[in-house]
Symmetry: D2
Subunit: 339 residues, 4 copies
């Protein structure tokens, strides 16, 4: 490990000073490739929804949702490079999380774009107890005594860099720059690969979830502030068209688009190309291989783009090393740090 940086958002600052976009925000710090950064991230409501009587539509300003920690400027990062974000540790900062229904947001409701004439569904807030020792997130139904102990599975919904074409995109949107992909695969132990679009990459992250279901059906996970440590590294000269992930067991590609089949198409076309490149197989052989081996979990069907993940087990790709083996190297650095 080259260097470390500890950076904290200022919880007492004016909320308008936080980063709510990818692109269009000045970096909070500049780091060299290989730097391990420890920070924390606010929940998607900026901490304003704290009890079951707080309704997001009443206590939140719609322009101040999903604040990001960062952006971090990575020295030497240029368009055409790939940024590796290795998650060393992702742990809930508090002993509670929050979810809610939000008017005209979610997969099973009319929205501003799936525009209808219905009244909104009822807005409601649920508070979850997070037991970090027992690794449990406790669900309590509001209308009946039903309760359930759900496994704690912390992750970041939003990880990204500044977009291409000079665009500035809301932190609520996922796309080829990453952003609000909302996939539970973004766990500790995983490396996320993001194509660099501007000098310094300008990486930021937020939207911690104590856990979420695939698809994030109602649009809101078990949202919580998160203590997170990650390493930023650089693979120079390796372009990555869409965000990819690597765990010890899987290579993963993502696609974010509408309709949902386009998100699927992107992720699986990218995996076909990645497998072909890594194994030397022809495109058609790789297409066949992916068709029989892929897992295709849905990430979100609620954001302004939907996200699908394609996973192929690395055990079926013997001897293959992706992205110059950066995942394995950073995994070791992380282990040494965890000591």
């Amino acid at each position: 490990m080259d260097e470390t940086l500890h950076w904290e958002p200022d919880a007492d600052a004016d909320p308008t000073t936080y980063a709510y976009t990818f692109g269009g925000v000045a970096p909070v710090a500049s780091v060299r490739p290989g730097t391990m950064i420890s920070t924390w991230t606010m929940d998607c409501f900026g901490g304003r929804v704290r009890s079951s009587t707080d309704l997001a539509s009443q206590v939140c300003d719609p322009r101040l949702l999903n604040p990001q920690s960062g952006p971090f400027y990575v020295e030497g990062a240029r368009p055409g490079d790939t940024l590796a974000v290795h998650f060393v540790s992702i742990e809930p900062r508090e002993t509670w999380g929050v979810s809610s229904t939000v008017p005209f947001f979610g997969a099973l409701t009319a929205t501003p774009t799936t525009a209808m004439l219905h009244e909104s569904l009822l807005e409601r807030t649920w508070i979850y107890e997070i037991d970090r020792a027992d690794r449990i997130v406790r669900y309590l139904a509001a209308d009946t005594p039903f309760t359930a102990a759900l496994p704690l599975d912390p992750m970041h919904g939003t990880v990204g860099v500044a977009p291409a074409l000079g665009e500035v995109r809301s932190s609520l949107t996922p796309g080829d720059w990453g952003g609000n992909m909302d996939t539970p695969e973004m766990r500790a132990g995983v490396t996320c690969y993001l194509g660099v679009n501007v000098e310094g990459a300008l990486m930021s992250l937020g939207d911690g979830h104590a856990r979420q279901g695939e698809g994030e059906t109602c649009g809101v996970a078990v949202e919580c502030a998160m203590d997170t440590t990650f390493i930023l590294d650089l693979i120079p000269g390796a372009a990555t068209a869409w965000p990819r992930l690597e765990s010890d067991d899987f290579l993963m590609t993502t696609g974010s688009a509408r309709p949902l089949e386009d998100a699927f198409r992107i992720a699986h076309q990218q995996m076909v190309r990645w497998v072909a490149e890594l194994t030397g197989m022809s495109a058609l052989d790789a297409y066949q291989f992916v068709s029989q081996t892929a897992l295709s979990p849905i990430a979100n069907v609620v954001d302004t783009n939907y996200t699908v993940v394609c996973k192929v087990p690395t055990s079926l790709l013997l001897g293959v090393s992706a992205m110059d083996g950066v995942h394995g190297r950073l995994r070791k650095v992380a282990s040494a740090w965890a000591g």
Copy 2:
């Protein structure tokens, strides 16, 4: 177990005599609820694609694809009932399986409905070795020496009943009658629930896969003839709007539609309703619960309707018994039979 039936398709018969639709076909046998049926199913090509030099577009008649075994008339089954299909055993009948690319069919190609001006991708056939003892399906790349041992995971792509509204639907299409859902969840040990639309239900099945990736990206799994044993049972007076599945570990709902987000919506709306009904939770509480607990694997993004599955772990629904507990009962019958 009440009764047993052994029924075999006649491999020497004129292929035009097989069943290629759900609805519109006379039953091959009539059984009482509780009957265990052993049969076998032809592969989706009717056994005509047997080597890497056989191309489906040359050796198959497009009107004679995906032959089904059945239909079976279930005595007493009426519209408004639910048919339970419990898979006792699903085993490849041969030591080989076959996959292919098919012109203008698949998720990463133009199709007759995602109509474009491209030439078709190259048509090609891959033959897989199936090792039933070692539970391996061997992939051999065509253009390079790459090979991989994939886990054998046998399943049926197509399981259904006669549709409503007097419709007769091709066995290539999935919908609320079941049909060509192409989900790898349709394994031995699983119970599939299908709403009955016509007297006798008229259940049939086919399209055995030695394994498939989620999404079935190229449109063709590792297709094979299959020896299958299943039990047909009836849950009278229980309507099921869309096919559901139950394993020892999961309750599952399905949705089949285009665009893919509608398949997602159906499956997850159905799960919200099912969880609410089973637990007594309000719809909004169940929406929240499903949002945090669902797994959402894609089944197919290639058929005339796309299919998504929603899975919720039964371990999070303590004490709940779905569909009068029929899955548990049939599981025991199956175990007793397996001895």
Copy 3:
């Protein structure tokens, strides 16, 4: 004109005896190519919704919606031929029409496939006055005194033949066999071309609209019984993949699919191919030509498939004659008949 046939549905018969599907119904008559048929069609509710207090969900059986007149067996028609349906006259049979909202049906509401958790929109029925002399359809708002005189523009929502692959499809669904396309272009003076899938073609029609907006947004047009005269003719050896239309001013192609962009793609790909075939242009030149000249009115965004029409002015295609000039010939026959 070779021959004429007058055939009437029996309004006093048991409604279960009418045709509600394309395919799966025995022909009501057999005619030779060139026959002029005069008939009438019931409205989509089978005449059961007659006042603003009649609600379709209460007075209609969902299995008995959209009854069709026919099917007519056309002698000599075989798969690979094209059937020409020339509309000589389409006139409302009564002085009233009816529209309504239908629970979970329409473009601006949740539906069984765009599945959500909303309650249904309010069900309501509107009765329209049809003034055949003044060619007016009068709209009367229910909640305020607003009224408007809309131009009478009679058409058939549903025109089709038996589908391929042995399928039987509900008259509520449009597809490559025609069916419930719900395009206002299906007027008197227009010829509709349908590919023949089974011997005799088995053409039927229904779903008269005194007028409709494009998209048929709420799902129900100004529905009315219709007196209709049409000529059936045959273009042997000319396959038509998707329904096409021809008026004196336009060549038109249709596509019916979900999502709506696929309906657009089908219609426009078919037009590119048609223009290339008629003019001898290359596919790329025809693509360019269509891109600058097409009108693309939406037909319906409410049925189980959505429909888009592509129109190119024949004035831009000097000297071109489509489908062996059958439209021009039948137009003359119709004029002679009208005398």
Copy 4:
């Protein structure tokens, strides 16, 4: 007319200095509401594709496509107001226009998001002759002698303001800020209404088309530099969620989204609301009225969002005056100016 402004882009300047985004660009001028602005706009290729041997992929930098003239800062415009852009005159600046196929762009080809494994279609450029006197755009096929005289129908593909949420969006994308809607309805004589998201509105325009087909199927219209005169006016306190248009004959709403049915839903929901507001009808009555009276032309099925227009004839809405009658007033100002 209050004031006039003549502003010209500098054709000799470094192309990187032009505006390629909505938002994120400093205004080129500040005007008072009511100002008539005369300007010209470059074609979408920045004038770099000038002959049939110029290929956009070779002569254009993908970061420098679709340059906009502006943005213009409108004094007093604030979030919650509506900006009225009345087009007085839109005339081709040259006697030629250009269209092309672009690799992986268009409705009938795989794209970066409708991701497939096809090779791109052939890239090709067509040059059109524009005859301003005879109002003709001449199409010349490349591979055969076919030619056609198409009606000149000049319009702007791209008109918009700075987006909400601090976003900066590429001029290639349409959305609720306007942008690249690519509708042929954006003609001289039409008023476009845009909701203001930031102080000054920051309106810009470009992407002149000598004409285009609906849907802009191949992705490129008959592109040309355009001499344009328009009036900017303000309707304070009137929020407009999505761009609307008004001609002498029609009220129009737009929706831009994917899939295409969502673009339809937005446009038609907005029209239902507009009609209800203007007539005092209930939402349900307005839904019914729009369902029977709307025209629904498709604008584009090629951009990063698709666009649909909903048109209702003002003749059916007697006595109604939209947006404080600004269209009628500006029409008179324009007539006086043309006088």
